[in-house]
Subunit: 463 residues, 2 copies
C-alpha cells in the first residue's frame, strides 16, 4: 500500500503530541475537580451487548450505533429468508455487540449489575470515548470523549448545587472566564405545557424550545405548530418566556403564572432550594442564569437541567446535564434518582484553542536536549543524561553524532527550551554551554551548577 | 430487561473505582518515566480502515480482528454469488473498518501519514486499549491496554540503553524489585540458525525457542523436529544454549562459537555496545540478563530484543520489545529503523496486586466526609464544605439527613479517612468532632484548626 493512499476512517482523528497534551490538560483539570468533590472513577468496556443498547436512544440514535461483526463464520447464521426482511433482521444474526453510544446507558447497566457492591449515594465519574456513526462535520466526530459525573441514589438538591460549583470551578480552572451556567427545571416546563393547554406534549415542546437560541423564534413557532400546538397555546406561551431579570426576580414572576400547578410549584421550589444551597457555600455565582427556554433534548430528565455556554465563541453548549428519576428502571431497577453533568471535551478544546487559553510550555515535554558533539564524548553525555533525569529534569540526548545545527533545529521544533552543548573541548575545560532556545542566550557553566540553574529558570517559566 | 440477565461481552471488564485508581497509578507512573525520557504522547483512532490492518498479523492474528459492520443498509452490497465464496468474501462487502489489534501497526501508519510534520528521530509513546477476539482466559482479555514507547528514525544503540534504564526505573517506581530484564539479539539468533546448518529457518526457530521457559526443552525439540530441524542441527544447538555466566562471560564464549558469521559478530557487537552504554550512564544493572533463548514471537524484530519478568510470580513476561528495521516499509516508507518497548498493564496489575504493592490510601479519593446531623445545620455544612475544597482537601458531605451510623458506614466503606460530625450543638459550641475512621479516635476542634490538622495528619499517611 502506498503512503498517499493511507487514511483513517472518516470522522476519526490522529492526535499529535501537542494536541494530546492539551486534551489531557483539560481532562486532568476536570478530573481533579471531580475528585475534589468526592467522585470516584469507573470504566466500562468499549463494547456492550446489543441488547443493552437497543431501545435506549430512539429510532434515530439507534441507527448511529456502530455494530461489531461476530467472529468466525457468521454466514452460517443467516438464512436466505432473512434477506427478505432486510438488513436490520440480518444484523441481529451477525452482530451481538456494539460500541457504546454514550456513557449514560453503560452507567445505568453498571449500577444495576453491581448494585450489591456499590456504596450509595454513588458518586462516580467516567471519562472515556464513545462512538456514533453520525455524519461528520466541523466539531462533530465519530469517536469522541465524554466526561461525565453523576450522583445516583439520592434526591438531595445539594447535589445540584455541587454541580453548579463544579462547573464554575472547572471554567475558572481552564480560564474560560466569560461563560454562562444556565439552569431550568423540567417540572416547570411540564407545567408550562399544561398551562398553555397542551398537556402530554412535553417532549415535543422541549425538543422545539431547545432550538430557540440556535434557530430563532419563528422556526420554533412553526415546529410547535407542526406538532399540533394551537395558535392560542403558542400565544399564551410568550408572556411566560418573556419573563426577564435576575433568577430571584424571574422566580417571583413565574410563581404568579404557575401558582395553580402542583408540578410547577415543585419545580420552582427546587430551583429556589438549589440557588439557596449554591449561595450558602459560596458567594453568589454571577454567571448563573435561570433560563426558561433551556430544555435539553434528552427524554430522561425529570428535574433541574443545566447547560454551560462559552460566551465569546459561537459553538453551542460546552456541557450540560440534569436530574433523572428513573435511569435504571429500564434494566429492572426503578426508584433510583440521580443527577449528572457532562463536559464536552472536544468543544472545550476548540474554545480554549480559539481564545488562546492553553499554556505555551508543557511540563511533560523535555526540558533539555544534550547535543553530543563527538563520539568520544558519548559516555560523558550519557552519565550526565542519567543524572539529569534522576534529578527530575525531563531530558533527551540527540542519539546520533550530527552537526550542531541539526541538533538545535530538533530542539527548536520539539519546543525543548534548553540545549546543552557537550564536546571534547567542553569536557576538558569543565564548562558546558547551556543555550536558552527562546532567547538565544548562551551560558557557560560547570556540571554542578546545571541542575540548579535549570530549576531556577523553570520555576519562572513553566506552567 | 431484568437485571439478572444483564451482562457484558465475554473477555471484557467493568472496573470499579479502586481498580481504575490502581490501574491509573501504574499508567501514570510509566507515563511520567516516558516523559522524563523525552517521549511524547500520540493517540490514534480506535478504528482503522481494514486495508491498513489486513496482511499485518498473519492468518491467525487476522482472524482475531474485530470488524465493524458498515452503517446503513449493508445488504445492498452483498450479491448472492458472494455467499458461495464464504464469509470472508462477504466481510469485505459489509465491513470496511475494524478495531485496532495493537498499537504498532497504527503507529507505523501514523508515521507514514504524518512524516512531513514529524520531527525525527521521533520519540513517541501511546497508551490506549486494543481489541482481540481471542478466547478469553485468566489474564487474557478481549479489550486491554497497550503501553508502548518507540524511537523511530535512528539506528543509535543509545536508544536500546535508554530503554533498559526506563524498564529499570519503571520497576523500581512500581516496587517490583525482584525482576529480570532479558536481552538478546535477533542477529545472534539468525547466525545460530545458520551455524547449526538450518539457514532460512529463523522464524520457526524463534517461535519454538521462545517457548523454552514455558513448555520445557522436550517440547521445543519436538517442535523443531516437526519444522524440519535435523537431529544433528538440534544436537549442535545445545553447546550454544548452555553457555552460562554474566553477560560479559557469555559474550566471550559466544564470540568463539559465532566468529565466522558476519551477522553473528554484528549482533554480539550490538549487545556489547548497549551494555557499555547502559553502564556509562548508571551503575551496572544487576538484574540485566543476556539470555540466548529469548526470541520474542514477532516477525519484525531485526536487532536487540528485550523482555521483562517479575520473578516472584509465575505469569510470563510483563513487558517486552526490540529493534525493527522496516516497520513502515509495508506502507511504502522503507529505511526507517526504530526500537520500542511495551509494558503489559494488565499483568503488571496482577503482579502488584498479588505482591500487595499498591498504596493503601489514594490521594484522589475523598479525605473527609461531613456528616450533617440536622436540616438547620445544612447551610453551615455547605459553607464549610466549600471552604475545605478551596483549601485543597477532597471532601464530601452526606447529601441526606440520615442517622450518624449510616453516614459513618458510608465513610468506612468508601475508605474516607476522616468524618466530621456537625449538628446544632457543635455549631453552637464552636467545636466540631473530627473522627479518624481508622483509629476511631475523636477530636474536638474549632473550624479554623480543621484544615491544618488534616493536612498535618495526611502528610504522614497518604501516598
Amino acid at each position: 500500500m502506498l503512503s498517499q493512499k493511507l487514511s483513517i476512517p472518516k470522522g476519526t482523528r490522529d492526535f499529535d503530541p501537542e494536541t494530546v497534551t492539551k486534551r489531557n490538560y483539560i481532562i486532568q483539570s476536570i478530573k481533579t475537580i471531580f475528585e475534589k468533590y468526592g467522585f470516584q472513577p469507573i470504566e466500562t468496556p468499549s463494547m456492550e451487548n446489543l441488547s443493552v443498547l437497543t431501545g435506549k436512544y430512539g429510532e434515530e440514535g439507534e441507527q448511529l450505533i456502530f455494530k461489531i461483526l461476530n467472529s468466525g463464520d457468521f454466514v452460517k447464521e443467516i438464512s436466505l429468508s432473512d434477506f427478505e426482511l432486510g438488513y436490520k433482521k440480518i444484523t441481529q444474526s451477525i452482530s451481538e455487540k456494539a460500541l457504546r453510544y454514550d456513557l449514560t446507558v453503560p452507567f445505568a447497566r453498571y449500577v444495576v449489575m453491581h448494585k450489591n457492591q456499590i456504596i450509595f449515594p454513588f458518586r462516580r465519574y467516567q471519562i472515556q470515548p464513545v462512538w456514533r456513526a453520525d455524519r461528520p462535520q466541523k466539531g462533530r466526530y465519530r469517536e469522541f470523549y465524554q466526561c461525565d459525573a453523576d450522583v445516583i441514589g439520592t434526591e438531595s438538591l445539594i447535589c445540584e448545587a455541587e454541580i453548579i460549583w463544579m462547573i464554575n470551578e472547572a471554567m475558572e480552572q481552564l480560564g474560560i472566564k466569560n461563560h454562562s451556567i444556565k439552569i431550568n427545571n423540567r417540572k416547570i416546563l411540564s407545567s408550562i405545557v399544561e398551562r398553555i393547554g397542551m398537556p402530554g406534549k412535553e417532549t415535543d415542546f422541549c425538543v422545539a424550545i431547545d432550538k430557540l437560541e440556535k434557530t430563532g423564534i419563528d422556526s420554533v413557532i412553526s415546529e410547535l405548530k407542526s406538532k399540533g400546538f394551537t395558535d392560542l397555546a403558542i400565544a399564551s406561551l410568550f408572556p411566560i418566556l418573556e419573563i426577564k431579570g435576575t433568577p430571584a426576580e424571574k422566580l417571583v414572576a413565574l410563581k404568579k403564572q404557575l401558582e395553580k400547578s402542583e408540578t410547577g410549584s415543585k419545580g420552582i421550589l427546587e430551583i429556589e432550594t438549589v440557588l439557596q444551597y449554591v449561595e450558602a457555600g459560596s458567594a453568589t455565582i454571577s454567571n448563573l442564569e435561570f433560563d426558561l427556554t433551556l430544555a435539553r433534548g434528552l427524554h430522561y430528565y425529570t428535574g433541574c437541567i443545566f447547560e454551560i455556554k462559552a460566551n465569546d465563541i459561537s459553538i453551542g453548549s460546552i456541557g450540560g446535564g440534569g436530574r433523572y428519576d428513573n435511569l435504571t428502571g429500564v434494566f429492572g431497577e426503578p426508584g433510583l434518582s440521580g443527577v449528572g453533568i457532562s463536559f464536552g471535551i472536544d468543544r472545550i478544546f476548540d474554545v480554549m484553542q480559539e481564545l488562546n487559553l492553553f499554556p505555551q510550555q508543557f511540563k511533560n515535554f523535555a526540558t533539555l536536549l544534550i547535543c553530543c558533539m563527538d563520539k568520544s564524548s558519548e559516555n560523558f553525555c550519557l552519565k550526565l543524561l542519567y543524572h539529569l533525569r534522576k534529578s527530575g529534569i525531563n531530558s533527551e540526548m540527540y542519539p546520533d553524532i550530527v552537526k550542531i545545527k541539526k541538533q538545535l533545529e530538533y530542539a527548536d521544533r520539539k519546543k525543548i527550551p534548553y540545549a546543552l552543548i557537550v564536546g571534547t573541548d567542553e569536557i576538558q575545560s569543565g564548562l558546558l554551554t547551556l543555550k536558552n532556545m527562546q532567547t538565544g542566550v548562551q551560558l557557560r557553566l560547570c556540571e554542578s551548577e546545571l541542575v540548579k540553574k535549570i530549576n531556577d529558570e523553570l520555576s519562572h517559566q513553566q506552567i
